[in-house]
């Protein structure tokens, strides 16, 4: 295995994060803090508990998930799109490096950033609302699994995109609405029966539900179903990446 290459890509990508600290870390932390102030402290104090959890604490997993999903996609897609855009991808394509090693470098770095960001948001949330984590290992597991899966998805978007606009379309127009409608701010059980059924077609419901379960032990859907759906998403993304490199789609003429 070309570990030097994995390390080179990983360090390069992480260096980019720290070079753009305001955009990579500070900005999502600030926007999440604002959510906590508005929905957690201000409005949340006037809302009833959900499943025995105060509203401010209830939205912590959903808000974390919202940031993790959008940032994983954004970081990974940008990470691979930029070399394509600037032309420096020639170096990666001509290097003695396998698909797995490329993914470990790019997706590994994007996932690391998301995990770091998630941890910072968790610490920030603690400043605004008290909460507990019933299953910390599961919480960590879901955090890592979701970060990796959506970084992989972002990597695919970064290869598919042929302009900066397309790079933003999926996170802004698809992922964010799905996350808002995926139970980040409410329990699916609060919806009318028909919408509860429709919501189950939203993959983010399973992510938020599983993640929330790791915090409070309550969930909209069974935790095993949440885990399975996350793994299905990871598998689908892996197959797509395998196909991209096999066919050279948008990478090799």
């Amino acid at each position: 295995m070309n570990l030097h290459a994995v390390r080179a890509i990983y360090k390069f990508e992480m260096a980019r994060t720290f070079r753009t600290l305001m955009q990579s870390i500070a900005s999502p932390v600030l926007s999440t803090s604002l959510y906590f102030i508005v929905f957690g402290s201000a409005i949340g104090s006037r809302m009833a508990d959900i499943d025995g959890v105060s509203y401010g604490a209830f939205i912590v997993p959903g808000l974390m998930m919202l940031s993790i999903l959008t940032e994983s996609i954004s970081n990974a897609s940008f990470g691979i799109y930029m070399p394509r855009f600037s032309g420096t991808i020639y170096e990666v394509l001509s290097a003695p490096i396998s698909v797995l090693e490329i993914l470990l470098g790019y997706v590994g770095a994007a996932a690391s950033k998301s995990i770091l960001l998630g941890t910072i948001i968790l610490a920030t949330a603690r400043l605004f609302v008290p909460f507990t984590i019933e299953h910390p290992l599961w919480m960590l597991g879901f955090l890592i699994l979701t970060s990796v899966s959506f970084s992989l998805f972002g990597f695919i978007i970064g290869i598919w995109a042929d302009g900066f606009e397309k790079l933003q379309i999926v996170p802004m127009m698809v992922v964010m609405p799905l996350t808002f409608l995926g139970g980040s701010f409410y329990s699916i059980s609060m919806l009318p029966p028909l919408w509860q059924k429709i919501a189950l077609f939203n993959p983010v419901v399973y992510l938020v539900s599983g993640f929330r379960w790791s915090f409070y032990g309550t969930s909209d859907v069974s935790v095993s179903v949440s885990l399975m759906m996350t793994l299905v998403f990871l598998s689908l993304s892996s197959v797509a990446v395998w196909w991209i490199f096999k066919t050279g789609y948008r990478l090799k003429a």
Binding site: N2, H4, A5, R7, A8, I9, K11, F12, A15, R16, R19, P83, S86, G87, T88, Y90, E91, V92, L93, S94, A95, P96, I97, S98, G248, K252, A253
Partner: protein, 309 residues
């Protein structure tokens, strides 16, 4: 001499239907400097990009050091360095970070001393901490060369490395390329400056419309295909070329009437020079001086490309 790179029946047709390479066969010898010449769109870059793994071949195979570039891509690519035609750089990175990245990407452990030497050879030491975006075009080109050399390749592809580079920088670059060849690095270059190929290359390949028109030792090529011209300077100018001299010869009188130009084939048994001089004597035309001139690689290249089109 031992072959280091073997291109066999290599063809490439792009998705658009454009056939960039048509069954190209080529052998590159270890340690040589090979110049690949051809007009724009001839297939030079496609050929290089296939060998380097950036473009997929439609048909054919390439062996580097006896290893298939697709099956043994790790070993093959670790031995190859590429300086691309376009100035593709990470503009927000520093020079040092980008060459360190390249070395790691190609599987080599860090080696500060070696990288410092590469930068020094390319007169980039004082730009080590500069961001690439602040450098001039010529400097960026040097950075690309430094990146290509960062993993100590034994085969180096230079795709138009001196395009847009000023004369002084070009000279220092070629000086470095010469040193690399002395160290045993095999160099394959494409260039628009044919005089560079003429000066530097051991062998020359001409590619046109995806086909390799010829591959030849540079000196043999220039001897075989080159024409020579004999310039005869006259003591007294002539108003017109006398009919007695014009018997089927490639002879012209310069507009000022002071010189005659005779073009002849160096490979021919009879160059026609003795009979020309004899006829000049018979006609009473006195000679002031004689000189010969060999046609350049550029002229040969142009005639080859024209005859192919």
């Amino acid at each position: 001499m031992e072959t280091i790179l073997e291109v066999r029946n290599l063809s490439k047709t792009y998705a658009s239907g454009f056939q960039a390479l048509k069954s190209v066969n080529l052998s590159i010898r270890r340690g040589e400097m090979f110049a690949l010449l051809g007009p724009n769109g001839a297939g030079k870059t496609t050929l290089i990009n296939i060998v380097c793994g950036i473009v997929r071949a439609s048909e054919g195979s390439v062996l580097a050091d006896g290893l298939d570039i697709a099956k043994d891509y790790r070993r093959v690519r670790a031995a190859i360095g590429l300086v691309p035609q376009e100035l593709h750089t990470d503009m927000f990175e520093t020079v040092w970070d980008t060459v360190k990245f390249s070395r790691g990407l190609f599987g080599k452990p860090p080696n500060q001393e070696y990288l410092e030497r590469v930068l020094s050879d390319l007169s980039l030491s004082d730009k080590k901490k500069s961001k690439i975006m602040t450098l001039s075009g010529g400097m960026k080109r040097r950075v690309l060369i430094a990146k290509a050399l960062s993993h100590e390749p034994s085969i180096l592809f230079l795709d138009e490395p001196t395009a847009g580079v000023d004369v002084e920088l070009r000279r220092s670059m070629w000086e470095m390329v010469r040193k690399l060849r002395e160290r045993g690095v095999t160099i394959i270059l494409t260039t628009h400056y044919i005089e560079e190929a003429e000066e530097m290359a051991d062998r020359v390949g001409v590619i046109n419309k995806g086909e390799l028109v010829l591959v030849e030792d540079k000196h043999v090529l220039m001897q075989r295909m080159g024409k020579k011209q004999l310039r005869v300077e006259l003591k007294s100018p002539l108003a017109a070329l006398p009919a007695s001299l014009n018997g089927g010869r490639a002879l012209t009188l310069e507009p000022d009437g002071k010189s005659l130009l005779y073009t002849y084939d160096t490979q021919s048994d009879d160059t026609g020079i003795p009979s020309l001089l004899a006829d000049l004597g018979k006609s009473g035309i006195e000679i002031r001086d004689l000189s010969t001139q060999q046609s350049s690689l550029e002229e040969i290249f142009v005639s080859l490309v024209r005859s192919g089109s």
